[in-house]
């Protein structure tokens, strides 16, 4: 019981600290802006650790952060293999193929008004559906290995990308297009020099949405069958063995790789679309 009380006291203390920091004079310093969420995250972790030990929660229900960290440290090779299989082979290759395919179709649709008006509503309708349900079909077609996971990711990212790129290519105003025409610019130079740059905020919006979808698709597809490696495989088998520390270790790896992936796309976005109002501070 003492540990639980310690956890609550600690939470109260750190919360007061955060309130002080947030309302204090230094609130706008970068260090404080970064420090407050870090303190909050640490508070949660420490409370988790203390309460698990204080209430004697069994390992099979909720392992303590320390035992998850220990598990990560001892099974780095397995986690690395799973990461390569699911993230690099499944999610990343599917992401690249899906985005490239959507880009090609969007360019074709851009040339034909008829096709665009037909494709866009259908595309945004399909983008809202639970496409992750196609996983069993694609696993049946492409086998258990990473190819089927990449296929699921391709299907999942294709429609959000298509909708975003097509909408982005419509972004320029009539006056801008007329201006290009007065300079005697053809379709391709108009696309390349004006409309594609103008579409970049939309394209990156799609790329960011798809980056989170990709990992989800690859992991869920592994629930429908996989070789004996991969994050989804490890999660579902470890749950069966009640090795919840392994499950949490995989979740930590998934969280870090998902956040990094998103962060890298966001960083590239900042470099490419530095001129856009949303990037100014």
């Amino acid at each position: 019981m003492g540990l639980v009380i310690a956890a609550i006291v600690l939470w109260a203390l750190l919360w007061v600290l955060n309130v002080r920091l947030a309302n204090g004079p230094a609130a706008h310093r970068p260090a404080v802006r970064l420090g407050i969420p870090v303190i909050f995250g640490l508070t949660l972790l420490i409370m988790w650790e203390l309460i698990v030990h204080g209430l004697d929660v069994p390992q099979v229900i909720l392992p303590a952060p320390s035992s998850i960290a220990a598990r990560i440290a001892t099974s780095l090779p397995i986690l690395w293999q799973d990461f390569i299989q699911t993230f690099v082979k499944g999610a990343l290759s599917g992401y690249v193929i899906g985005c490239a395919a959507a880009f090609a179709v969007a360019i074709i649709a851009d040339r034909s008004d008829f096709l665009r008006r037909g494709l866009l509503p259908v595309g945004s309708f399909i983008a809202a559906l639970p496409i992750v349900g196609t996983a069993p079909i694609l696993v049946m077609w492409y086998g258990f290995d990473w190819q089927s996971k990449a296929a699921v990711v391709v299907v999942m990212v294709f429609f959000p990308m298509l909708v975003n790129i097509t909408a982005g290519l419509q972004e320029t105003t009539q006056m801008q297009r007329d201006q290009m025409k007065t300079w005697a610019a053809g379709y391709w130079s108009g696309l390349w020099k004006m409309r594609l740059p103008a579409a970049m905020p939309f394209i990156f919006n799609g790329l960011k949405i798809s980056s989170t979808l990709a990992l989800i698709g690859a992991i869920v597809a592994e629930f429908f069958g996989s070789p004996i490696v991969g994050m989804g495989f490890r999660i579902s088998t470890s749950v069966g063995q009640l090795a919840l520390d392994m499950v949490w270790a995989e979740i930590v790896v998934a969280a870090i790789s998902g956040s990094l992936f998103y962060g890298i796309v966001a960083l590239i976005e900042r470099q490419v679309t530095f001129w856009h109002p949303s990037q100014r501070h």
Binding site: N18, L21, A22, P37, T212, I219, V247
Partner: protein
């Protein structure tokens, strides 16, 4: 209205492509069946055909095309096969039957709706807290945004097993996953909405000597409604995904996710496709209902004329 004809054309093109794709996808099994039935196919013998390309086989055996659209366990079922299965398992079965998609759909839908309700109420409450407390904003908001990049579904199997071990089964574990998925879109959208009144409007409230509560109820809450509905639409679609994925890891036998899973175990492709379409229809219907509520509410509040 202008886009109805193009949309119909695109849909027709997809259906036509689908029928054509069925031929090479199913030709191997069709030829094996035909040969067993005594028909002459080229080349003879399943072993000779095994490594041949599906396109070549399809072109040299045009007589067997009909069978590729009528198999019991095709690799790719034809559209009408899926439609017939959907019709048979919804309209022609009693809704209490274990084979009725209405029955399975209801199992999933109930978890979806419960989870959506929990998730959106919790999300709105957290957003209200974030808007009113600087400390909460600075400490919780970065984590809420970061959590969007995490494959939340990875946690689903664990939640199911953990809740199962403390005696919770059935609806609630799935609803918790649904709630988790709809929670963050609602938080992010609602925070944006509650902050959407501009400085001039807030200053106006101040000149009227409005209290914090009055500013909240009369200005912030009404102006957040369009943002709320936009995130509710994302949230309810995410809830459905959550409920379906929540049915996968425990080998559940009821619900649309369970239909997908058992279909993939037993190679019942038509069952998978019909479950998939039922899911799609359900998702579209849920989003449409939220959009209708949105349109009605915004109209009454005077956002759109």
């Amino acid at each position: 209205m202008r886009s109805i004809f193009p949309v119909l054309t695109v849909v027709a093109a997809i259906l036509a492509f689908w029928y054509v794709a069925c031929v090479p996808m199913n030709i191997h099994a069709a030829l094996t069946n035909a040969e067993r039935g005594g028909a002459v196919v080229t080349p003879e013998g399943a072993a000779a055909r095994r490594d041949m390309g599906a396109m070549g086989l399809a072109l040299s055996n045009t007589a067997q095309w009909g069978d590729t659209w009528a198999q019991a366990k095709p690799r790719l079922p034809a559209p009408h096969q899926v439609a017939v299965e959907l019709w048979e398992t919804t309209v022609q079965k009693k809704i209490t039957s274990k084979r009725s998609l209405v029955f399975h759909g209801w199992i999933t839908l109930s978890a979806t709706l419960l989870g959506f309700a929990i998730g959106s109420v919790a999300g709105i409450l957290l957003a209200v807290g974030i808007v009113h407390s600087r400390a909460m904003d600075m400490s919780v908001m970065p984590w809420a945004i970061a959590s969007q990049t995490i494959p939340i579904l990875a946690i689903a199997p664990m939640i199911i097993v953990v809740l199962n071990s403390i005696g919770m089964q059935g609806l609630l574990p799935k609803a918790i996953i649904s709630a988790y998925l709809s929670f963050f879109p609602v938080v992010v959208g609602m925070v944006k909405g509650l902050r959407s009144p501009d400085q001039m409007q807030i200053d106006q409230m101040r000149t009227w000597n409005a209290s914090r509560g009055q500013t909240f109820w009369r200005l912030r809450l009404p102006s957040s409604v369009p943002f709320l509905f936009a995130s509710l639409k994302i949230g309810i679609a995410a809830s459905l995904v959550g409920a379906i994925v929540g049915e996968l890891p425990t080998g559940a036998i009821r619900g649309l996710g369970a239909r997908l899973l058992t279909g993939s175990y037993y190679g019942q492709t038509i069952q998978i496709w019909s479950a998939l379409f039922a899911t799609a229809i359900l998702a579209a219907a849920l989003v449409a209902i939220v959009s209708m509520l949105e349109r009605g509410t915004l109209l009454r509040m005077g956002f759109r004329r």
